[in-house]
């Protein structure tokens, strides 16, 4: 299916990451935004609201982030593609309904513009400290899909990708950006509507009295219907059977929750997108995502110039994690260097998936680290020289 031209602002624009995200949402067909004001994601909502009347979209500012995601889930069941945007503290409050979204298998997109935490942290300054929360933050077993853009153009592209994945797998998708990318202003190109591929919602098309809201189709995903179409369906956040009726036994728990996990795990090859550069002959590979990828690519070039064989593996999809690819590369390289704007989150996954075959050097950095590659370069040099280095953490000592 092609994009609805009404939401596509075709042309070349100079936009911030936040504004590009709002345009991506419109292009993807998003017609409902639930919001609660929070820095530094607010500009997405502001752009959305400004353009909503001409695009035909609806919005509501709720009383807190808990109710925001509840409203987004309700809106999604009316057939409207729905999203919300937030930042750290807001994401914490959304964990309750992230779980409900997973359990009710409701497509929606949650944009998280990460800011330094914990608690209030530094509202306007970037970080990547919510990565594990997005993956594990709600209680119980589930899988989540999370993407991480590194430029305004990618904010546009991956917002569309997030909606497409969300409809394809009937799952909430998180777009994990950060304040650096959100406030970065760059030129972006918005293509014509007919060049934008949109994943339509997978609807049930059978007899009204035969509809089962959680009966899995061949692709592992149950078909949806809209509120008001006369199906009189029931869905519950309790463990349920195909009819959506609660069943309190272990057998049904397995029947219900197992597919929530495997509908993602069975399709990791389709879901996962990574961008590799110069990994063929690399002895050291930088694994990065989001704003940090910008430093990674710069450091790679600089290190190559000084004769170190460095490659880059950029995670577009952070969750599910590209386990297979990292394990393959671990056998070929001396070390992975993992820069992150936090004190060690995705690096744990890299360590796990290396299975001891490669050293893992973690480079925590702040906002400065996106521009200044000194720490990263010294880590690369260390990784390239030593035959056997124990996993090291480069001390984060850039003063304020």
């Amino acid at each position: 299916m092609k994009a609805d031209p009404k939401g596509v602002l075709t042309g070349s624009h100079t936009l911030t990451g936040n504004h590009a995200c709002a345009e991506g949402a419109f292009a993807a067909g998003c017609r409902f935004l639930g919001l609660y004001p929070i820095v530094p994601s607010l500009e997405i909502s502001e752009r959305f609201l400004e353009r909503a009347p001409e695009v035909g979209a609806t919005f509501i500012q709720m009383e807190d982030e808990v109710s925001v995601l509840a409203a987004v889930l309700g809106a999604s069941w009316t057939g409207k593609k729905s999203m919300t945007v937030t930042s750290g503290p807001g994401l914490s409050l959304m964990m309750e309904h992230l779980g409900l979204g997973v359990m009710l298998e409701t497509p929606c997109v949650i944009v998280d513009i990460q800011r330094a935490g914990p608690a209030l942290g530094m509202p306007g300054r970037p970080a990547q400290g919510d990565m594990m929360q997005a993956r594990w933050g709600s209680h119980g077993d589930y899988e989540i899909i999370a993407l991480s853009p590194s430029s305004p153009q990618e904010m546009f592209d991956y917002t569309i990708k997030a909606f497409n994945l969300s409809e394809r797998y009937r799952i909430p998708v998180a777009l994990m950006s950060d304040a650096y990318v959100a406030h970065l202003k760059e030129e972006i190109v918005i293509p014509h509507a007919e060049e934008i591929e949109i994943e339509p919602r997978r609807y049930y098309k059978g007899a009204k009295d035969k509809y089962l809201p959680f009966k899995r189709d061949k692709d592992f995903v149950p078909r949806m219907v809209n509120i008001g179409d006369g199906y009189k369906f029931h869905v519950t956040g309790l463990t349920h059977d195909d009819r959506g009726y609660p069943v309190m036994n272990e057998e049904c728990q397995e029947y219900n929750v197992h597919p929530l996990v495997w509908k993602v795990r069975n399709y990791v090859d389709e879901i996962i997108e990574v961008q590799e550069a110069e990994t063929e002959d690399a002895e050291v590979i930088i694994i990065s995502y989001g704003a940090t990828s910008r430093a990674a690519l710069k450091a790679m070039e600089q290190a190559r110039k000084s004769g170190i064989k460095v490659g880059s593996l950029r995670l577009v999809t952070v969750w599910p994690f590209p386990e297979k690819r990292v394990a393959e590369l671990a056998k070929k390289v001396k070390a992975f260097v993992v820069p992150e704007m936090n004190f060690g989150q995705v690096v744990l996954e890299v360590e796990r998936c290396s299975y001891g075959n490669a050293n893992v050097i973690f480079v925590p950095h702040g906002e400065n680290g996106v521009e200044n590659t000194d720490d990263l370069l010294s880590a690369i040099k260390q990784a390239g020289q030593a035959d056997k280095v124990e996993s090291v953490i480069i001390e984060f000592n850039k003063g304020v």
Binding site: G228, T236, G237
Partner: protein, 296 residues
């Protein structure tokens, strides 16, 4: 690894006598009966009244969605044959707000308990009333958290016992009609499960109302509230309602506090007009050049 294919057992529904049809079969999920509510509970009566009100108000069952939270009354959505959602604790109003704003053709009914709507969901309750979202909220008030076994609720009368108020409740309770009224609800009524005919009329009236309507249904909880407070069984509670309810339509909602085994004032207290959220939204939209919203 592929997920194992397992099948759940079919739930056995109660076999009915040949030719016997429940008069509300078109509005109830008969394949889910028997329900989970205890003997003497009033929630079933509230559901019956609601189903009758739907018929009385002539509401198209295809265009109505019912949302419940958690708790005994939270289970209502699961027994009513409408597009129904059993959501998280305290959030049905927020969930319903999303439905209503995204598709204003859908009438939203939130059916939940006092703990769900007034404690954990209290903030959503007052804000939905302030916005005047088109929504009927049926709040079944049994003065206690019953699903978890009888804990003190924001509606538990002073001095009443609960498992978490073993020496008597020390917190003054909320007066639900007063909160609804002062937050901006356009229709506020209170009935007990004894006043079925009046409750049906009130629910039917509220269903046709534009804006945020609240109907509080005082219900007996024989298993927890009555037992721990030694108030007898369901029938005794009904007798209590019969002897102690005073109907005062239009009473100032300030005067509707409920004490421990004191008089309960019922009636229709508020019935007024105020522009609803969608009316204001559409009015704003019509003033924007090229403004529109995708329907459906």
């Amino acid at each position: 690894m592929k997920a194992k294919e397992t099948k759940t057992k079919e739930i056995q529904s109660v076999p009915s006598k040949k030719g016997e049809i429940h008069p509300m079969e078109n509005l109830l999920r008969m394949d889910r009966m028997p329900h989970i509510w205890c003997p003497s509970c009033g929630i079933g009566l509230a559901v019956t009244a609601f189903a009758s009100a739907l018929e009385k108000a002539n509401i198209d069952p295809d265009k109505i969605s019912i949302v419940s939270g958690i708790g005994c009354t939270g289970r209502v959505a699961g027994y009513v044959k409408l597009d129904s959602f059993h959501t998280t604790h305290g959030r049905p109003i927020a969930f319903g707000t999303g439905i209503r704003v995204a598709n204003p053709k859908i009438k939203v009914v939130v059916f939940s308990g006092d703990g769900d709507l007034i404690a954990i969901g209290g903030n959503h309750f007052i804000h939905a009333a302030r916005r005047n979202i088109d929504m009927l909220v049926v709040c079944v008030n049994n003065f206690i958290y019953a699903m978890t076994g009888g804990q003190v609720a924001p509606t538990t009368p002073l001095a009443a016992y609960a498992t978490t108020s073993p020496y008597g409740c020390v917190e003054p309770p909320f007066n639900i009609p007063y909160i609804a009224d002062s937050s901006g609800a356009v229709y506020v009524a209170r009935w007990t499960t004894l006043h079925i005919r009046r409750l049906i009329n009130s629910l039917a009236e509220a269903l046709q109302k534009k804006g945020f309507s609240v109907v509080e249904v005082i219900s007996p909880c024989g298993m927890y509230y009555s037992r721990i407070n030694k108030l007898g069984d369901g029938l005794d509670m009904m007798k209590f309602y019969h002897d102690n309810v005073e109907i005062r339509h239009g009473e100032d909602t300030k005067n509707l506090d409920i004490g421990f085994q004191t008089k309960i004032i019922c009636g229709k207290f508020v019935d007024r007009e105020r522009p609803s959220y969608m009316e204001r939204y559409n009015q704003w939209l019509s003033g924007v050049k090229g403004g529109s919203r995708d329907e459906g």
